[in-house]
């Protein structure tokens, strides 16, 4: 087994960058902070790619069967409570964690480089890079953590850095509100995660992921029908897995906890590319994949994962078709794609899901970075303000087109391969979900090309070519190459839940339907949006009711507001406030008032006159004398 000890450096280097930039950045290193942050992440990326190469392809790389058993590195005993319960810090090495550190650090590096140009001249430039470093540290730590409790720590850390970066423009009330919303919604879901961890670790009597999975899947143990431990007729382990999934659904913006993701687009665009498209939002998928053996053994919970993923994928795709803010369209598309990954896991398509996660990171980060360039050029997020940009921004145009083709699943771009595998897995597992996925892939092509045509065609080209900075174009090109060629990586031979090589049938007849649907979607988008016309408006008014319904995101935000403001605030918040104000505070006030009254009454005794004191003294003596006489006679 080759030595992977250097893997600890991968998260720790960005942490060092965060500490240095956070402490000294604003005062001393303002101009160099970007370079420092980028250099540190560059080294991390190098190490991560080397680790991935060594693990998957290098000499002495382990065989597939061996690889399905993760091994633990760098184990450190952190909190020993008792011989049976201790919390260790460790790094877990298995195909998905190695794949994830490569993806996370690579996308992170691209975003660091891109931000050198994009965020130039910002007042809090150093703070921005410090936060990016913190995020990179937490995300890399999250994917490497080999202990559920450690996962939870990093899970909260990514939530925290996401909060900081969404609220980066803290002078905008919308950004502040979005940051709070993201934090509260994910925190709410994390409560489920925490309880789930406690239940699972209580059942398995360990927090170590590998041991936990082993113990809970022992053949003698009837996982879903543990007679001793159940609640409401569902076994404790199923409860634990469902609660953990709630945490994952919150972080991954699954229906109905997705409401924070579109608002999170208030953050700087490179941040959206890194956190809210490529890495952090797939943490939920990663979490389910990490415990996949457990989920796979529990059909009930697997069904929840399946349907939540499918509903999210479809719902988000429908909403994305009606939105006009370019970043919001991309946000809903992210949610839809993560829905794909979820239902792939739900239909036992472990490899397919991870493959889609991998390719999605490339093309979605690319889309967001392109959107950033476009937004800087147009100074608006609204699609109506754009149009005809294909001549003025040729490089962005090309990259955006590549990413759109990839996400729509057109061969030979990367999205095609991963989406085929997902649909194949869904076809084997559940026909209904398969058709939802098929329909969604057509919708995906439609809304992505609606975006593409609205931005780059629609209006006649005008203006001079926009000059794109070198630091902005390098990441675009690298990611575009990734989005094009990532699909050719033979994923099913690299990772697998049980070690048996999966039979890939990518180029079968299964591929015809989704590609045809995608082409149809592109065709409709071209017909509606290629030239400026009133066709989209006509279509919208023809389906007025449904259009308004989808345009307002199915009023899910409003439902949440109703539930929180009207029901929770009125029925729980107000009575609780009343009790706090009148009973808890009242008790304290009563004690204070009584004390004050009594002291006001007796303070006259301290008159300052010596003879009064003499009087008390003799009265006391006389009283004691009387007392003693009474007692002793």
């Amino acid at each position: 087994m080759p030595n992977y000890a250097y893997i600890a450096l991968i998260p720790l280097l960005p942490l060092a960058g965060f500490v240095v930039l956070g402490l000294f950045g604003r005062r001393y290193l303002q101009r160099f902070s970007g370079v420092i942050g980028t250099a540190v992440v560059f080294v991390s990326t190098g190490l991560a790619l080397w680790a991935a190469y060594q693990y998957f392809f290098g000499t002495g790389s382990t065989s597939l069967a061996l690889r399905s058993h993760p091994f633990i590195m760098l184990k450190a005993n952190w909190l020993p409570f008792s011989p049976h319960l201790s919390i260790d810090l460790s790094a877990i090495i298995d195909p998905i964690s190695v794949m994830m550190i490569a993806v996370v650090s690579l996308v992170s590096l691209m975003v660091h480089i891109f931000s050198l140009g994009y965020m130039k001249g910002e007042e809090r430039f150093a703070t921005y890079y410090a936060f990016l470093g913190l995020f990179a540290f937490s995300m890399l730590g999250l994917v490497l953590s080999g202990n559920l409790f450690e996962t939870y720590i990093f899970w909260e850390l990514v939530g925290c850095s996401s909060f900081l970066l969404i609220g980066y423009y803290y002078d905008r009330p919308t950004a502040v509100a979005a940051a709070k919303k993201a934090f509260i919604v994910t925190r709410f879901a994390d409560l489920g995660f925490l309880i789930g961890i406690l239940i699972l670790s209580f059942q398995a009597e360990t927090l170590d992921i590998r041991t936990l999975v082993q113990r809970l899947t022992e053949p003698g143990l009837q996982l879903t029908s543990i007679t001793g431990a159940s609640f409401l007729g569902i076994s404790a382990v199923s409860w634990g897995l469902s609660l953990v999934f709630i945490g994952g659904a919150g972080k991954s913006a699954m229906f109905p906890l997705h409401i924070w993701l579109p608002d999170a687009m208030e953050g700087p665009t490179p941040v959206s590319a890194l956190i809210h498209a490529a890495t952090m939002v797939v943490a939920g998928v990663y979490l389910v994949a990490r415990l996949f053996v457990l989920y796979g053994a529990d059909p009930g919970v697997l069904h929840i994962v399946l349907y939540v993923g499918a509903i999210s994928a479809l719902l988000a795709a429908v909403i994305a078709c009606t939105q006009t803010d370019i970043k919001r369209v991309l946000a809903y598309s992210t949610m839809s794609q993560i829905g794909y990954m979820m239902f792939a896991l739900g239909s036992l398509g472990y490899t397919a899901s991870m493959f889609h996660l991998f390719t999605h990171a490339f093309f979605k980060a690319l889309l967001f970075l392109c959107a950033g360039v476009i937004i800087h050029q147009v100074h608006s997020n609204e699609m109506q303000r754009m149009g005809g940009l294909r001549k003025t921004m040729p490089l962005t145009h090309a990259c955006f087109l590549v990413a759109c083709l990839a996400i729509s699943g057109i061969p030979p771009f990367s999205g095609f391969f991963s989406k085929e595998e997902i649909l194949l897995a869904a076809y084997r597992a559940n026909k209904l979900v398969y058709f939802i996925g098929l329909f969604t892939s057509g919708l995906t092509a439609f809304y992505m090309f609606r975006l593409y045509f609205s931005i780059f065609w629609n209006k006649p080209p005008e203006g001079h070519p926009h000059k794109i900075l070198l630091v902005e174009s390098i990441p675009l090109v690298i990611l575009a190459l990734g989005a094009t060629f990532a699909g050719f990586i033979p994923f099913s031979r690299l990772m697998n839940p049980d070690g048996a090589p999966e039979v890939g049938s990518v180029f079968s007849s299964m591929a015809i339907a989704p590609v045809a649907l995608a082409l149809l979607g592109i065709g409709i988008a071209a017909y509606l949006y290629r030239k400026e016309s009133d066709r989209p408006a006509k279509l919208a008014s023809a389906a007025r009711g449904f259009y308004t319904f989808a345009y307002h995101k199915f009023y899910i935000d409003e439902v949440y507001l109703f539930v929180t403001k009207k029901i929770i605030f009125n029925l729980i918040g107000r009575p609780a406030a009343w009790i706090d104000r009148n009973i808890v505070d009242g008790l304290m006030n009563l004690i204070a008032t009584v004390t004050a009254r009594i002291s006001a009454g007796i303070k006259g005794f301290q008159s300052g006159k010596v003879q009064d004191y003499v009087l008390y003294f003799f009265a006391g003596i006389a009283g004691l004398a009387v007392l003693f006489i009474y007692i002793y006679t």
Binding site: K603, G604, Q606, S607, G608, K609, V610, Q611, V614, L615, F618
Partner: protein
């Protein structure tokens, strides 16, 4: 010469005690109050001596107590008069009513 009965002496000392107490309560002049305190102390001295003489004539405990009380009374007088001087400097009076600022 017949001995004076103990009760007579006790009557004298009790009278002295209450005279002192009366002076302590009614006088406003601090020096008079100090004198009243001395009266109270001396009434106690008389008691010690009398009980020593009448109850335990062969022992000297009461006498020693009295000697100590006289010594302490002298020291106390010195301290008290020093306090009076300082009070006089601050209030330009040795009336106790004037020095009533140390209160609630």
């Amino acid at each position: 010469m017949s001995q004076v009965p103990l009760s007579h002496i006790l009557i004298v000392s009790t009278a002295l005690f209450f005279i002192g107490m009366y002076g302590l309560f009614t006088r406003r002049n601090m020096i008079t109050m100090l004198i009243s305190v001395e009266l109270i102390l001396n009434s106690v001295n008389i008691n010690f001596i009398a009980f020593n003489k009448y109850l335990y004539p062969d022992r000297l405990d009461g006498v020693f107590f009295t000697l100590f009380i006289i010594a302490i009374a002298a020291a106390e007088a010195a301290v008290a008069i020093a306090i009076f001087i300082n009070l006089y400097r601050n209030f330009h009076s040795i009336d106790v009513e004037a020095a009533d600022e140390l209160k609630f």
